[in-house]
């Protein structure tokens, strides 16, 4: 059994009886069934308790568990409550889960990003459940006048087996609420988990399948106005003049307002403001270079050879290693900009009043949204409420608060509740993309085919550091140099699901495949030998867990029957990102002259799997996402304007284009290390390496569909 100390004030859990009866750890939740949109912000203020906590137990045996982190499709609204319910020994059928609003007084790290929610909250959630369980047991023991140690819990009840007595949590809630919360609490041994590791269905399934208003775009308020914003059509332009005369006269239009470089058309329905926006006459002027994709290619070449690079990691003597090499392998890889394309486009509701602001909508970072709106309006954050809706995908796009700030701008200017909606075209052309990057890899082999030198230079456009210098193969090569150059561009970029690694992993794992081939070695054996070296005589610091990486490599090789399948071209890839490890084998079969990726076998080490169903789908979805964007995703620019503006020009993967995906989880009892992103990075490499085996042509640029190997194949 594990014991956790109460550490910080925020973690310290107090309990109080609420007026309505029942045990409330944290605030009471009276209207959890209320629709539309999850939560009435005022109920928090009206709650009697203000502590960091996640659950309440009603005298009717209904257990309400709050999931504070934004749900964007990663399954947190199901997984978080499962952890609390596990330690509580609750009956899952009696558990109701609700999305928490932003409340930095009681919740920490209330954001979705970096695959970090479960790793961050694992112990906190367990403690929330275990503390309540402890108090319920104490209450039962004192009612029955028996030692607490003789009492057990299961399915929402405390039992005293010797006397055959039992009471439900609802019956005990009031008495338990009068007890002191324990300073220390024992957590379950992982071996005794009953709920964690099971397949639990998405708690919102029924609402989703019946079309209930769950998402930000579904939020409507009496008297609310609709706004569409016209932003500059090219990156590098700024607003010069606006003539809104015609637009203002159109039916349903209430106002046209201008802020920064944006013009907002405000009116009574989405369609009316969309049509009126088309009637705006706007002049822009140049504020920066209007870059085209051809410019970017030229910039890549220039900076690759002559850019002033920032050294990210250096081990040994790279120049000497390359001078003395028996063989040198060199290759360049390139990946384009990508829009995030969550199927629910950006949107947000704002009502800026003199005395406060109400914000409702889809955001991965409610705290940032509030801070930005506070800055804009001069209204104190504590007077700004943020309701977090269910979100139609995020993929990193909703980490930015630009669209929330816009809503606040418009509401402030028109002094009314407003929902700003982005059309798909706005969403795709409105900025914040995965950065475009070119990599140059170089490897030096000695006469035995050992990699003695490794160089990587990443040149990115608004990419920050486009390398992950401490990831594999760092630590396994004695002489290594990783550096990077950045070009600053008016085209806006930001994190995109598995930032950087979503393209670096493909490039690196494909290059490693090239090196293994040049060394005359099996790609799996080659990687394992490097990892053995990183273990036995590491070159510098090793910041990944070598054994976990070896574990997934061996599991993927075993499950795919690596190298032993006739007529199947296998490609290998492994990557460590966001604390978790995933290896994948892609399997290509040539059908009527066309190479087709038929299967992906994934071996995943994300520590303990909380929800088997959600996790399995998270990996499959990650593979589909990784493959789709590697295969088809391409955003290009002409004079600062994106060439693609909707799904007719920007191709997303469809059902007829997906491989089967087989998933194997490593069972090692390690506390969960995150799964929202780690399954995606290895996919591009597994696919590229399998396609290479089938076609003998390397795929060194994304999207693959534009490469020589796919010429004439749609």
């Amino acid at each position: 059994m594990k014991t956790l100390d109460q550490t910080s004030r925020r973690d310290f859990m107090k309990v109080a009886a609420a007026a309505g009866g029942g045990l409330f750890l944290g605030f009471s939740w009276s209207n959890s069934n209320a629709l539309p949109v999850v939560v009435d912000a005022k109920s928090i203020a009206a709650g009697t308790i203000n502590f960091n906590a996640y659950l309440s137990i009603g005298t009717d045996d209904i257990i309400t568990i709050v999931s504070p982190n934004p749900e964007i499709g990663q399954g947190i609204k199901t997984a978080f409550p499962m952890v609390v319910a596990e330690e509580l020994d609750a009956d899952w059928k009696q558990v109701k889960t609700v999305q928490g609003n932003l409340d930095t007084n009681i919740f920490e790290r209330q954001l979705t990003g970096g695959s970090g929610a479960v790793p961050h909250s694992w112990d906190r959630l367990r403690k929330a459940g275990a503390t309540a369980r402890y108090m319920l047991v104490e209450a039962a023991a004192s009612t029955w006048k028996v030692p607490a140690a003789e009492c057990t819990t299961e399915n929402g009840k405390v039992l005293h087996k010797a006397s055959g007595k039992s009471l439900t949590y609802g019956q005990l809630a009031e008495a338990a609420s009068k007890l002191e919360a324990p300073k220390e609490v024992q957590l379950k041994d992982e071996k005794n988990f009953k709920l964690i590791g099971q397949s639990v269905r998405n708690v919102d399934n029924n609402n989703i399948a019946t079309g209930k208003p769950l998402f930000g775009l579904d939020f409507y308020r009496e008297g609310m106005l609709f706004a569409l914003v016209q932003r500059p059509k090219a990156f590098g332009l700024k607003l010069k003049s606006v003539n809104a005369d015609a637009a203002k006269k159109m039916p349903g239009i209430v106002d046209v307002v201008t802020f920064e470089n944006s013009v907002a058309v405000v009116g009574k329905s989405t369609w009316q403001v969309k049509k009126a926006r088309e009637a705006l006459k706007i002049e822009y002027e140049k504020a920066a270079d209007l870059e085209s994709s051809a410019d970017h290619n030229r910039i890549f070449s220039q900076l690759m050879d002559n850019g002033e690079a920032t050294v990210r990691r250096k081990n040994g003597d790279v120049e000497a290693a390359f001078k003395g090499a028996a063989k040198v392998i060199k290759a360049e890889y390139q990946c384009p900009f990508l829009p995030h394309s969550p199927l629910e486009p950006m949107n947000f509701f704002a009502h800026v009043r003199e005395d406060g602001v109400e914000l409702v909508g889809p955001t991965q970072t409610p705290d940032r949204a509030r801070a930005e709106v506070a800055k804009l309006t001069g209204i104190a954050p504590e007077k700004i409420s943020v309701e977090i809706t269910r979100q139609g995908g995020g993929f990193g796009r909703r980490l930015a608060a630009d669209y929330v700030i816009e809503a606040a701008h418009v509401s402030k200017l028109v002094k009314a509740p407003v929902k700003v909606i982005w059309t798909r075209e706005d969403d795709m052309t409105g900025g914040i993309y995965r950065p475009a990057v070119r990599y140059r890899f170089e490897a030096a082999l000695d006469k035995n085919g050992e990699m003695i030198g490794y160089k990587l230079r990443g040149v990115g456009i608004n990419s920050g550091n486009p390398t992950r210098e401490d990831n594999f193969p760092s630590g396994s090569v004695d002489n290594l140099l990783i550096d990077s150059v950045e070009h600053k561009s008016p085209i806006t970029t930001g994190p995109w699901r598995a930032p950087i690694t979503n393209f670096l992993a493909y490039a690196e794992q494909s290059f490693i495949d090239e090196v293994a081939e040049a060394a005359g070695k099996d790609p799996v054996a080659f990687r394992l030998a490097l990892l053995e070296k990183a273990k036995k005589s590491p070159a510098g610091e090793v910041k990944y867990d070598v054994d976990r990486m070896i574990g997934v490599i061996k599991l993927a090789a075993e499950k795919s029957n690596w190298g032993k399948k006739n007529g199947v071209h296998q490609g290998f890839s492994v990557y460590f990102s966001h604390r978790s490890y995933v290896a994948q084998v892609g399997e290509v079969v040539v059908e009527k002259g066309k190479p087709v990726l038929k299967n992906v076998i994934a071996a995943v080490d994300c520590g303990i799997v909380i929800n088997k169903s959600g996790s399995l789908q998270q990996v499959r979805g990650g593979v589909v996402d990784g493959l789709g964007h590697a295969m088809y995703g391409n955003m290009t620019f002409k004079d600062g304007t994106p060439d693609q503006s909707n799904f007719n020009g920007f191709r997303l993967i469809r059902m007829n284009e997906i491989p089967e995906v087989e998933v194997h989880f490593v069972e090692n009892g390690i506390s969960p290390t995150g799964l929202g992103e780690p399954a995606l990075p290895p996919t591009g490499g597994a696919a590229a390496n399998a396609f290479y085996k089938a076609t003998k042509q390397r795929l060194r640029n994304q999207p693959f569909i534009n490469e020589e190997a796919f010429k004439g194949i749609s």
Binding site: E71, W271, L343, R424, R654
Partner: protein, 153 residues
């Protein structure tokens, strides 16, 4: 502006809108039926799929003036209690990740099964490939259509 009388989910409703307004926005902005989703506005993603006289159509490109006397069914009206075999299969297979596209997927699948109660795998893939799922739940969508087909008469 013009007044349109529409048959939606077996109820007659009225909407005073411009005649080129897509049915999607009439449903959402005027009638409060927000289960039908906006994804692309150009009939590429299928999030806005509704039934027009039982057939799957994209409401984002269907002007309200073109609906006429046709009967419109939205996700809210697919079944009274949310127990259409496709809706049940979606839960059983645990299809949804973010869930945003799923109403459109369900409407497309329900129309397919109405026209073809026992579709082949190829027919399922051919039909469902018109609907995008950005989360990549395609494996489960396919499985759920099969489950629904196996359970309906």
């Amino acid at each position: 502006m013009a007044l349109f009388k529409l048959s939606i989910n077996n109820r007659t409703v009225e909407a005073d809108v411009e005649q080129d307004t897509p049915l999607l926005w009439v449903l959402r902005d005027n009638l409060g039926l927000v289960g039908t989703k906006y994804g692309c506005g150009i009939a590429q993603c299928g999030a806005c799929t509704v039934h027009l006289d039982g057939k799957a159509v994209r409401s984002c490109v269907l002007p309200v003036s073109a609906v006429g006397k046709s009967k419109v069914t939205t996700i809210e009206g697919l079944s009274e209690k949310g127990d259409h075999p496709v809706q049940k299969a979606w839960d059983e297979v645990d299809v949804a990740q973010c869930g945003y596209c799923q109403a459109g997927q369900i409407m497309t699948a329900a129309a397919l099964l109405k026209a073809k109660p026992k579709p082949t795998d190829e027919e399922i893939v051919a039909t469902m490939s018109g609907n995008l799922c950005r989360c990549g739940t395609y494996h489960r969508i396919k499985e759920a259509v099969k489950v629904a087909a196996s359970k309906s008469n």
